[in-house]
């Protein structure tokens, strides 16, 4: 290991290409934490945004007018305002309205920290898109298939869980794929509320080392790999979900 670090240190002194997050222990730790935070935040948001999508699409099919209206209002509000402002609104505005808890350094702090708010805000943002995506998937399931399940005595919830949702899922994977890739890219916004994700840590490092170019290129490559892994995973999943005999 050490000689690799040495090599990068020499690279810096010889060519000026400065990659402190490889050879410097402090920066390496920061960068690794940033990467982990980004992955963790992405996974949490992926999970919850899909949950929100599934539940929202179910509520949208409700027979109660007001339930549908509220879901629609949620979708329109979150789709038509900047995610960054949503993040600020959640963190600064709503965060201060919630009850406070004792913290371990002798004061009171808001119930939720910046990471939690980033996770909530981004999940709601991506969830708004997922509701629409699932809704269109559900509409693509033929009515007659649902009727067949009805005729077999399935309840509404059973039909949704066993028939509609599994079929809708398969139709929407490409669209959802796209949305989730966007979500991973959007996690960079958490930078603005000081969530120590990759962009934040990179920014700290370039402030200290004045190596913007190197950090920038590293960031672009890192996101490229992250998005690539996600897309590969989703494609694999799509193939696994493929129904034999169709398409």
């Amino acid at each position: 290991m050490d000689f690799i670090f040495e090599w990068f240190r020499t690279l810096y002194s010889e060519t000026g290409v400065n990659l402190p997050f490889i050879y410097d222990e402090y920066d390496r730790k920061r960068m690794a934490e940033g990467l982990l935070t980004t992955i963790w935040l992405s996974l949490i948001c992926l999970f919850f945004s899909v949950i929100i999508g599934v539940i929202g699409a179910w509520l949208q099919g409700s027979s109660l007018k007001w339930t549908r209206r509220i879901v629609n209002g949620y979708i329109q509000l979150f789709r038509n305002t900047p995610p960054l402002v949503q993040l600020y609104f959640f963190y600064f505005a709503i965060g201060t309205l919630l009850p406070r808890v004792e913290n371990d350094w002798g004061g009171t702090s808001p119930m939720l920290g910046s990471f939690a708010w980033a996770a909530i805000s981004l999940s709601f943002f991506a969830g708004a898109f997922n509701v629409e995506i699932f809704r269109s998937g559900i509409e693509a399931v033929p009515k007659s298939t649902v009727e067949a399940a009805e005729a077999l005595g399935f309840s509404r919830l059973q039909i949704y869980r066993d028939i509609t949702l599994p079929l809708a899922f398969r139709v929407v994977i490409p669209a959802m794929n796209n949305n989730l890739v966007n979500l991973v890219k959007t996690t960079t916004l958490a930078y603005a509320i000081a969530v120590p994700e990759m962009l934040y840590e990179a920014n700290q490092i370039w402030s200290d080392n004045v190596n913007v170019t190197e950090m920038m290129i590293f960031l672009l490559l890192a996101y490229f790999v992250l998005v690539g892994v996600l897309v590969a995973g989703m494609n694999k999943w799509e193939r696994a979900m493929k129904i034999p005999g169709f398409g």
Binding site: S136, E139, A140, P142, V171, K185, G245
Partner: protein
């Protein structure tokens, strides 16, 4: 072995049949405004901790914030124009017959499409010089212009994909018919293919514009004096009062919503209209 069945299980996702175009209703805005601005201010007003009510302060600052929002729009127009221009060329490159052009256009498109917008913005902000030296002329590159450049990069990549998608979505019969009438490839592209693509490209293009407009607030992170930056400055000037946060950020939300929601509705309407015609 697979049989043809009529089971339409894997139908492509269809755009939802829509009621006729319905524009934003006043009460919708009022509701949102209440939820985001007035409500939180009232919660605080009852605590009576401060001398001047949050709403009054917000009203003081509104003209300035509006001017900041106009600046966001200027940035969005600039980035959209630039991104569309370059992205259009890149998209044509992606359908070129010349393999190296096709491959390199594809690569550039994918690269900028998969990078986070914010990172691209930082990219433009920090890696572009403060001024360009062209033949001894010093062309200053102010921050807002760099923001336009930075935001136009992802726009460019997305426009490129839109163009490619639209061209690919046309039935191959159109190409063949034109070919057998002895049109050159260029004539086919400009006279037959692209005019038909415009209609297909319009909805995704408008969608992209809406996304771009919402992304202009990212410029605040790199210090351009747009609405979020001004909001930050206003809050600093008012001394970091926590009761002002909700109304101020709420106002920004409302501003964007009023601008972007009609665009979204119009886009869905267009999509629906075109899908009926075709």
């Amino acid at each position: 072995m697979s049989y043809k069945t009529d089971l339409p299980v894997m139908l492509p996702v269809k755009p939802r049949a829509l009621e006729p175009f319905k524009s934003l209703k006043k009460r919708h805005i009022l509701l949102i405004a209440f939820l985001t601005i007035v409500g939180p201010s009232l919660v605080f007003a009852q605590t009576g901790e401060f001398e001047k009510s949050p709403l009054a302060i917000l009203l003081d600052w509104t003209p300035l914030l509006l001017s900041g929002f106009l600046f966001n729009l200027v940035i969005s127009f600039g980035a959209m124009a630039l991104g569309t221009l370059v992205g259009g060329l890149l998209g044509l490159g992606q359908v070129s017959l010349f393999a190296p052009t096709r491959a390199s256009s594809w690569l550039v498109t994918q690269f900028f499409r998969n990078a986070p917008w914010l990172v691209l913005l930082f990219f433009a902000m920090f890696l572009l010089p403060f001024e360009l030296n062209i033949f001894g002329f010093k062309l200053p590159l102010p921050d807002w212009f760099k923001a336009i450049l930075g935001l136009s990069l992802p726009v460019m990549a997305n426009v490129s994909e839109i163009v490619r998608g639209a061209v690919r979505s046309l039935p191959s019969g159109q190409w063949e018919a034109a070919e057998s009438l002895a049109y050159t490839r260029r004539q086919t592209l400009w006279l037959i293919i692209l005019p038909q693509c415009v209609k297909r490209m319009l909805p995704p293009w408008m969608n992209l514009y809406s996304i771009l407009t919402m992304a202009t607030v990212l410029a605040s992170i790199v210090g351009v004096s747009e609405v979020m930056t001004l909001t930050g400055r206003a809050l600093a000037a008012e001394g970091g009062r926590t009761d002002l946060l909700a109304p101020f950020y709420g106002l920004v939300l409302v501003l964007f919503f009023i601008y972007c929601y009609p665009i979204a509705r119009f886009t869905v309407w267009l999509e629906h209209k075109f899908s009926v015609i075709n």
